[in-house]
Structures are given as C-alpha cells and as structure tokens.
Symmetry: C2
Subunit: 460 residues, 2 copies
C-alpha cells in the first residue's frame, strides 16, 4: 500500500523537512510594513523554487502589493487547490521575545519539542505540512495521488488588498474541484478539526484631530478639545453595559445558533476556565448572556487593537496633542455586511465629534463571515482520514478568526473550501514567542498524506 | 543716568547676545529622556562658565538627577535670587518641525523676527534675558546694581525630583530678599505681566494589564478583557457631562474668584475666540459654567497627555494587547492637595478595574498651586519699570501652567517670588517649531535692566 510507504518516508525525512521550513522562516516577510517588501519577494521566490523542485509549473505573479505564487502539477482524478500565505505578522514588542523572531530553532519544552519563531504556526509551518506531504508522495510513488494546484498569498496579515482582483483576473486558472486551506488549528490538544464556520472582519483606523498643533496642557487644558479624550469616549460608547455593540444595525444578519450546532458544541465541553487561565485571566468578558464558545465562534465582536496619541515615552510631558489614533476591528458572523457596518461606524463617530474636531477613517475594509456547505464528499473523506491519524475523531467546528479566502473561493470561484490545520491554542500566533509544535508539523504532514490518499480513493 | 547707558549698550550688543543664546540652544538638554544626560551636563557647564565670565562665584552642583547651577555676585542693597531652568521638553513628533529643533536660527515671519528652536522660549531664551541685563550693567558700570544670586535647574520639564531636597539642603545659601523667575509670558501681544497666581500639577501614569501576553483578537476578542477598552472607560469616566472632574473630593480647596479679581480679569477683555482660533478650534471645551480665562487661570483640570497600547504602526494587526498606558495630569488651584487627589485617583481606577486585571501608577507626584503675596515693595517697583519699557501698563495676572518653584521659594526659603516673562501665546512651547520673538528677547533684557535699576533705587 503506497500510503504506508509514504507515511514511513515522512517519518524518516522529518529532520530534512524541518530544515527546509527553517529556511523559509528566516525570511522576514512582514507584509504590513513596507520596510520588509524585499523579504516578501524572497519568500515568494523561495516557494516558487521549492514548487519547481517538486515538479510543479510554478510562477511568482506580480500584484500592486506583494506577489502571489501559483503552481500546477498534473495528476489523475479530483483537482484540489491548496491555499496558504507566506507573509507573517509584525514582531513588536520585540523585547518580549525570548529568542530572535527570525532565527527559528527547535526548543525542548515541558509539553514537547516546538519550533520557535515568527510564522512557525501562522502560516509557514502549516503551509509546509502540505508541501512536505506532496514531496513524500513524489519521492515514494513518483507522482501525486490527485491533481494539485497551489496558490500562496503574501498579504493575508495586511488585509489581502490584491487578493480579490487577482482571483477575478485569474478565475479559470484558480478554479479546481475543491479548495484546501491550512491556516487553522486542532480543537484542544488532540482533536483534529475541519472548520466550517468563520467570522468575517472589518478593520478600521480612526484618527481624531482636535487642535491643529500640539499644545501646552497648562495653557490650553480644559478649554481646548483633547483628541485622546474624544477617542476614549468614542471607544467607551461602542459597547453597552451588557457587552453588546451599540452601533445601529450592527446585529442585522446575526443568526442564532441552531439547536443541533448548539448541542454539538456543548458536547465539545470547551474548557473556558482553562482557556482564560492560560492567558492570566479568570472572568469571561463580552456579552453577558452568551457562552464563551458561542462568543468566540458565532458572535460578532468589536475590539480595539491599538491606540496612540500624545507623549508615550519615559517620564512626563504636559502636552495636549493635536491627534489621537485607534485601530478598531469588528469580527462579523452570519450575513453581517461590512460595508453597512463601516457606514454605521462613521455615522456614530461623527455624531460623537465636537463641531471643531475632525475624524479620518483611512482603512474601513472588510469581508463578511463564511459558512461552509459540507455536502461535497471530500469533507467526510477528509474527516475519516484525520480520525485515522489522531487519537480522537475529527470534528466540524467554528473558528473565531477571519479567513476571508474561504468566502472568496466560494463566491468568486464557486469552490467549497476545507479548512484543516494543526495549530494549538498556545501557539502565540500574532504575539511574541510564536511556536509550532514539532508534533503538529509531523502529524500535519502525515494527515495531509492520508487526506490525499482518501481523496484519490474517492470512497465516502 | 547709568540706566540709559545700560539700555543703549543692550541695544548695541543684541547681535552678540543672540549669538550667545544660540550656543546654549544647541545643547540638547532634554531632561526627561536619560539618553540626553550628557547634554544636560554640558548645558550646566556652559552656564557655570558664563556666570564666571560675569564675575559670579559659580558652581555646578551634583544631584541624584541632573545638576543644579548656583552662582553669587557681590552687590549693594537688596539681595535678589534669579531662578531659571536650562532643561527643555522632548522634541517629538520630530517630523512636524520645519527646521531641526537643536539648530536654532533667526527667521523672518509676518509678525517679525523670531528665534526658532527647542528651548528658545521655554526657558533658555527667557533665562538669558536676565543674564544679558547683568552683563550690560557690568559692561557699563563695572558692577551690578543690587546683590544677585542665580539658581538654575535642569529637571523642570521632568517633575523636578531633585529640587526640594536640594533647596532644603542649601537653605541658607539660596535665601535672598526676593526671588525673580523668568518662565512666564506677556498678556496678549504687548501687556507686560507679573504672575501672582499659578496652578499646581499632579502627574500620573496609569498602566493597565489584562491578559498576561498579547493575544489574537480573533481567538480571544470579546471573551478576554481588553486593557485599551478598560483604559478608555477610565478616561471617559473622569469627567461628567458638564465638564467637571468626577473624582471624589477633587474640588476640595478650590476657591471661587473674589469679585475684585473677577472684575480685574474682565477688564483684560481676554479674546478667547482668537486664543482658540490660533490653534484651529472654535468652541470652548471644559466646564460649561465657567468663562475661558477663569478656566485657564483659576480652575483645576484633568487632561490626558499621552496614550499607548497594542499595534500603533502602519497597516493593521489583529492583536488584543496585554497592556495599555496613559499619562494623565491634573492642574490644581487653591489648596487642592496633590496627595489626596492621587489617592482618590487610585481608588477610582481600582473601582473601575475588572477583578482579573491590574493597574500600576508609576508616577503620582505633584505640587499644589501658588498664590503670591504682593506686599513686598519690589512688586510695585517692578510693575512700574515694566510699564516704562512696554507700550501698555503692566498687569498682575494668573497663569494656567505650573511653576512649583514659586511655592517652594515661599515654603522652604520664606521668599516671595516675582514671575516676570516675555513669552507669547504663539511661542509653541512644548510643541514642534517652538520660537521666541527677537523683540521678546531684546525688550526682555531691557525690562530686567529697568527692574534692577528700580529695585536698586528702592522707591515705591
């Protein structure tokens, strides 16, 4: 049976696979910061070269932002399109990293060996699980078990501005029978999961200007508007005392959970006390009348992701600043419309604004939530394959994060997407000291090999 | 008459005086930032050398922070102690400066020639008006008209941590008949002013910690406390809808204006529309039932001078941060007690804090307000001398800023202080593009020469 040989090859080749991943991790592909443009190009080139070494016809494609990587290999039967992203989050605050973020290394921890560094879990380590499964198939059998295309983006962590135009312009080339996305996690420590419900995201930046220059607070304090105080009251007013978002129309399109999903999620026995305890908290915040898992997977939120204004350095400066800025994001569910919510946010802010102050909204882009249909037989084939690899059976779950690509695949290309990943809750993605468990990497590669075998076999 | 000769010498020597000031301005004596420690030392050394060149017995005195400069010269009659500070405010945001802040230059503007650069008005330019008046007296008469001591501080812009201990330790040496302080401004464009009422200042830094690390807002948003949102609601709750500060006990010790002072201030016909218009605003903020001048000179305030948390760079990062920080200051009047208000602030914050979050208060130091007695005959002598120099008669005024030294002179050394300065409202102190009018510098030197002559003559 070729699958057994492929799995054995994966086990034997793990050190080499890890070395290859480290090479990709060393490239500082921070997409949101223009200073790292060249590093993003290098990561795209690295992937093109690696795909070519696997026999793919692969190319770097330019966009107005960072390049896309597209590759195709021949194969029989089902045609799958694998998506991943090679860009990573910024690394600040740098002083909270125990090791340099772009010098990845294996590290022994109480919970096993981890690969430490920016992008290990989100998403380079996950992306490479699929490439390594393909590499093992080719090494053992000389070919791939199904027809495979690859599509890698370099702007996922910065709002994917080039993604939709690129997909529209290359519709035929990017369409396959089903999409595979590896940017999610296990449920808990050991339950493999296929995500079928994803929240959307509306990202806003709000810049308030009061006086036209920085002022002395002794001279102008009180009588001149302070943009930090205006911004604070705008942020405070976004939630009521029950934790609900106050924007008019915000809850339009937010569905209640079906009894079936609710009972399925209850069966997962989510340990919200442990979830909070792992980050030093003990009291759930958010909507008072919702369960924690419901809030994370199926309720919309509004959070402040950054704030800045006035003097932020050591010591004190009695300045009354001209400007203050906040980055505010909304997670969306159901059919909540990002454009309508952006308009409602703008109206709310303008109504809170004193007449001689101004507000700017330099971002305001977003994508709605996604709900997968699981009618394609690939879903059950993949679920069975995952259950074979892991100690517990695979589950269909929701996801608090936003992976707009899944919705785009459906909307633009008419493809269903299977979101399967091997990250863990303590991977610290988007934070200092990001890691990916070596076990996630190893069993992730094995999982994809099993899934490809199951898709090739085609049984339900 | 020697005064006429001294004034003529001042006029003839203005270019040289300006060149000397530029030398001092080029020293980057930012006291709040430890990176500029050496620059502060250099500014102190420069002043010691300059005082020695005037025949003063001058020394740099070490403190746990930046050094003090103390100098004494012999002279007959009244003994005056002149105070100034050689440290300056930070220069950020640097990109808003039209010229480098530490490369001072003369600049022609629509309103006349200005000296542009950090510290020109606050306080190096003002400090040098007094030294240049002394220099002119010595050049013309060979001696000073009264007995003069000098006392320069290097920590005025960073809360003066070493000042009170130094004054206590050197009480005898620093005591004179009256203190002169040059760190204030004209009233309007042309009315010379002696400040007799100064607000106090309580400076707070508030650091809120929620989760013990930065989190992904898709995973933890809603359910985990966001320290930026907690901080925003704390800031918002500090004022009620009428603009009053809500801290319990905050208004204890805030006096109402006497009818006499109120009518004197009404006679000043303060142009609050112009005051706001010059900074791009039109609607007075603050307490609804108070006049603008009352708010600036005689009412307490609470302002936010800086805020920081989460991702502040370009683009977007969906982080839910562990910490958020604000710098908050209270201006105090009457007998408001900074220690009692600090305690009230701490209690207020702790009451607003969710049980699994923490607050830190790394600063919390302050000084109360000052009210000068004007019974010493020097006040009326100085007022007459100022009225001779300027086109309008000098006025006794209040000041929104906080110059705790005046209170310390009274409390520790038993001296009254005369606060006389030549800054203008548009000097942009504490802001980018700080300037000092060449006319302020020139007529400031002449004003001090006249005041010294009047104090020497001793007539009422």
């Amino acid at each position: 049976m070729p699958l057994e040989k492929v799995l054995a090859h994966i086990d034997a080749d793990l050190d080499n696979a890890t070395t290859r991943l480290m090479e990709l991790l060393r490239l500082k592909s921070i997409s949101t910061d223009p200073a790292f443009k060249q590093d993003c190009e290098q990561a795209a080139d690295w992937l093109v070269d690696d795909l070519k070494s696997l026999g793919f016809a692969a190319e770097k494609r330019t966009t107005p932002g960072h390049p896309m990587v597209v590759g195709h290999a021949e194969g029989a039967g089902l045609h799958v399109m694998f998506y991943g992203h090679y860009d990573v989050q910024p690394v600040d605050p740098l002083d909270l990293w125990d090791t340099p973020p772009f010098e990845p290394a294996l590290e022994e921890t109480a919970k096993g060996t981890v690969i430490r560094g920016r992008g290990t879990s989100d998403d380079k380590g996950q992306l490479m699980t699929f490439l390594e499964a393909c590499r093992a198939y080719i090494a053992v059998t000389g070919s791939l078990p199904v027809k495979i295309s690859m599509f890698f983006e370099g702007e996922e962590e910065s709002g994917s501005p080039s993604l939709v135009p690129f997909m529209r312009d290359n519709k035929d080339e990017l369409t396959a029978d089903i999409a595979l996305i590896c940017d999610t996690g296990l449920f808990g420590e050991m339950v493999p999961a296929i995500v079928t419900q994803l929240r959307g995201l509306l990202a806003e930046e709000l810049v308030i200007t009061g006086p036209n220059k920085d002022l002395h607070s002794g001279m102008y304090g009180g009588i001149a508007r302070n943009p930090i105080r205006i911004l604070s009251s705008i942020i405070t007013g976004l939630h009521d005392e029950t934790g609900r978002v106050t924007l008019p129309g915000f809850y339009d399109g937010v569905p209640e959970l079906s009894d079936e999903i609710r009972s399925q999620w209850q069966n997962l026995a989510f340990d919200h006390a442990g979830f909070l305890d792992s980050v030093g908290l003990s009291v759930p915040a958010g909507e008072l009348d919702r369960t924690p898992l419901e809030m994370i997977w199926s309720r919309p939120t509004c959070e402040v992701n950054g704030i800045s204004g006035g003097y932020e350095g050591d010591g004190f400066k009695t300045v009354l600043p001209s400007k203050a800025m906040a980055k505010i994001s909304f997670r969306l569910v159901g059919t909540q419309d990002p454009e309508a919510i952006h308009r409602s946010f703008v109206e709310y802010v303008n109504a809170m604004l004193p007449p001689d102050c101004t507000a700017e909204f330099p971002l305001g882009h977003g994508a709605g939530a996604s709900q997968m249909s699981i009618s394609h037989p690939a879903f059950e084939q993949a679920r069975a394959a995952l259950s074979d690899e892991w100690p517990k059976a695979a589950a269909y779950v929701g996801c608090g994060g936003s992976i707009p690509i899944a919705g785009h695949f459906k909307e633009i290309l008419g493809m269903d997407a299977m979101l399967i990943g091997f990250g863990r809750d303590d991977d610290q993605i988007h934070s200092p000291n990001e890691k990916y468990d070596l076990e996630s990497f190893h069993k992730g590669i094995r999982s994809w090999a099993r899934i490809l075998a199951a898709l090739a076999e085609g049984k339900k």
